[in-house]
């Protein structure tokens, strides 16, 4: 079975190659069969691998294909490794990826770039699988850059609109900042520990570096920089809302379910290093807590449906970072899984709404679509409920509860972190149910056209089922005490040092979180469902409007970076248009041209003048020889 591991990423890679070589000449049917089929096969193979993996008692499988780089004592193979963590990631990537491919085959039906779209999407899935299955950090970095490239290509998919190209460049450049830090981190690890093989690296780091010393702190901080860029966390979060310029299935797959969580995976994978650097882990916690609140407030003010979801993604990944920071590793991966399901569902449902009402993104121009688009309504509602963590019936509740409990139970800072998480848990239902009430209830502003085919309904139905039930694999002690997911990941990720607490405290924390979610839905209903007069009056006041503008532009980060980085750079480029360094070399060229002109004047073509010069020269030479 282990020998089959490499086929999982190879399948979508093959699909990419076929579509790439076809160059858009293949018919839509063939394109869809290759594009969707390759991910479907990868998903089936992953399922078989998972069954075998669980049956065989969770062995750590390694399959080295060939040596990629060997210089001096340093080697990097093309090798894959399967353990519980990468298995969970692979399952989510292939399954959600397959469903989104299936959905896209209908969603993109009338697009000119049908072949190009599936070509990029397959390359993305292949890169993402390489990222999570790589057994060394260099190969992981290859996948990391591969998904970054695909993200760039797919954000700018509709390249005829210049704004989309700008959004794509922004995403690429901002994540490049993090990637540079990541690469420096890799070099640091490779030079000091002599290997990039993850297992060996963690072992050597553990034995060579004392906890809290400078080297592991620097390495962990650099890796954190890479993770922050890829996962759109503070301070490199500005690219994600603009990335919504891409087609909706792209937002669902890349900018919600998989790529943006690569940072979470990286940190979970190198958790040993982060354990050795408590200060970086604290920074990780604070970044997560700050981002989850910042993004949640921003989501409150958005009126573009996809941007609401983008800020919500940032906020949910903030939760995962918070969980990683407090050492609740399993909770972070659990939330990654449920988030992949419900956020992909939300994006696909949003896409289903948008495609039926003439590409309208503004929620205030929608309204009353509940009756017209029941499929989209129910799937969006289920996704929203899961995102809002409505108690008991949704997957999001269990994973978020695990994170909040982890935050509460993390020492002296716990209650503060828990409070931040709880505030986020209050804001989440408000912003997402705001969208639900505004889009699907109230009066209608648009007339939907067309209808859904099976390839849109089936992914929505399956993801709805997963968004509701995926949480049942791990439930808190008060609710049945199921620990299947934790037990799966326990051998890979270190167990938390839980402060012994009464079971009643944990139950109380859970009940408070549940009530908070319900309260949030109630507030959203009061403001946007019932359209009460008091909040409308409040929102009309001057400070409220100013605050709304501030949140709408994402706390002014774009403006800040524009002033601090973009403008000074453009100014430098402008004043240096003549190229100051080049002027020196220009001077040399000008001098030699001058001498050339002077010397070429001596070549007159008059023979006697030459003879005269020769005579004068000889005379001078003799004079120098005689008198000097």
């Amino acid at each position: 079975m282990a020998a089959l591991l490499w086929i999982v990423p190879a399948l979508p890679l093959l699909g990419f190659l076929l579509l790439f070589l076809a160059g858009g000449r293949a018919s839509r049917l063939v394109t869809a069969i290759i594009g969707v089929g390759s991910t479907a096969l990868a998903a089936l193979l992953t399922l078989a691998l998972a069954a075998w993996f669980l049956h065989a008692g969770q062995p750590i499988v390694r399959a080295t294909l060939w040596q990629w780089i060997g210089v001096g004592g340093f080697t990097a193979p093309i090798g894959f490794e399967l353990d519980a963590l990468s298995l969970v990631m692979t399952l989510v990537i292939t399954f959600v990826g397959f469903l989104i491919h299936l959905y896209s085959s209908e969603f993109m039906q009338h697009d000119d770039g049908y072949g190009r779209f599936f070509c990029y999407m397959n390359l993305f899935v292949a890169s993402m699988l390489i990222l999570v299955l790589a057994d060394n950090l260099l190969l992981l970095f290859l996948g990391w850059e591969g998904v970054g490239l695909c993200s760039y290509l797919l954000i700018g998919f509709w390249y005829r609109d210049a704004a989309n190209g700008r959004a794509a460049r922004k995403a690429f450049i901002v994540t490049r900042v993090g990637d540079t830090a990541f690469m420096i981190g890799l070099l640091l690890l490779a030079t000091h520990l002599g290997t990039l093989d993850i297992a060996a690296l963690m072992e050597r780091a553990q034995s060579a570096w004392p906890a809290g010393s400078a080297l592991p702190t620097a390495a962990a901080a650099l890796l954190l920089g890479g993770a922050v860029g890829k996962s759109a966390q503070l301070p490199l979060q500005t690219w994600l809302p603009d990335a919504m310029a891409g087609p909706t299935p792209v937002s669902a797959l890349i900018h919600a379910a998989t790529m943006v969580t690569a940072g979470v995976y990286l940190i979970a994978r190198t958790h040993t290093l982060f354990n050795l650097a408590p200060s970086v882990q604290l920074a990780l916690t604070l970044i997560g807590a700050a981002t989850l609140l910042l993004a949640a407030f921003s989501a409150l003010a958005q009126h573009d449906l996809k941007r609401i979801l983008a800020y919500s993604t940032m906020s949910q990944i903030g939760y995962m970072f918070l969980a990683l920071g407090v050492g609740a590793w399993t909770a972070a991966i659990f939330h990654f899984m449920t988030h992949a399901f419900f956020k992909a569902l939300l994006f696909l449902a949003a896409g289903a709404v948008i495609m039926r009402i003439d590409d309208e993104h503004d929620i205030f121009r929608m309204g009353g679509l509940k009756r017209e688009l029941p499929v989209a309504f129910w799937s969006f509602l289920i996704g929203a409920a899961s995102l809002a963590a409505l108690p008991l019936v949704t997957a999001g509740f269990y994973s978020k509860d695990m994170i909040l409990w982890g935050a509460w139970n993390s020492g002296p800072r716990g209650p503060i972190l828990w409070g931040a998480g709880l505030l986020g848990a209050l804001l989440t239902p408000i912003y997402i149910f705001r969208a639900v009430f505004v889009v699907f209830f109230g009066e209608r502003h648009t007339a939907p056209s067309g209808r859904y085919g099976a390839r849109i309904v089936i992914p929505l139905a399956l993801l709805s089922a997963l968004a509701l039930t995926a949480g049942f694999v791990d439930m808190p002690p008060a609710l049945g005490n199921v620990t299947a997911f934790s037990r799966l990941l326990d051998p890979i990720l270190p167990a938390r040092q839980e402060v012994p607490t009464a079971a009643s405290t944990e139950a109380a924390v859970m009940v408070i979180a549940a009530l908070t979610a319900l309260l949030g839905v109630g507030i959203a209903w009061w403001i946007y469902g019932r359209r009460a007069a008091a909040p409308a009056r409040l929102f009309g006041t001057r400070p409220a409007l100013a605050l709304r503008r501030f949140w709408l532009c994402g706390w002014g980060f774009d403006w800040l970076y524009d002033c601090l980085l973009v403008r000074p750079f453009l100014w430098l480029a402008r004043i240096n248009r003549a190229d100051g360094v080049d002027a020196f070399y220009g001077l040399i060229a000008a001098a030699s041209r001058l001498f050339n002109r002077l010397l070429s004047r001596t070549e007159s073509g008059r023979l006697r003048r030459y003879a005269g010069w020769i005579a004068a020269g000889s005379l001078a030479a003799i004079a120098i020889a005689m008198f000097a």
Binding site: G605, R606, L607, R608, G612, A615
Partner: protein, 103 residues
Amino acid sequence: MEGSVPLAHAWVLAIVLFGLGLAGLLARRNLVFMLMSVEIMLNAAGLAFITAGARWGQADGQIMFILILTLAAAEVSVGLALILQLFYRSASVDADSARSLRD
């Protein structure tokens, strides 16, 4: 060595011959005369070699003179051939008319 020509006279003769040749080379425009001036300069150099060889009683000076003689013969044949070619092309043996080669 009674009755022989003093060395200084031979030196002066060689210098004068060389100066005459050089002056002719610089002043004349007719290529044939310029070639003859070059011959005079070569002979001046040959005379200087012979004199020096006689002064120090060595055969080197005479060897050099034979070399110069050969050189002069070769030079004249090539030079005359070039002058003939120039004459065929521009119906002139004026050195300045060869200026057109440069442009």
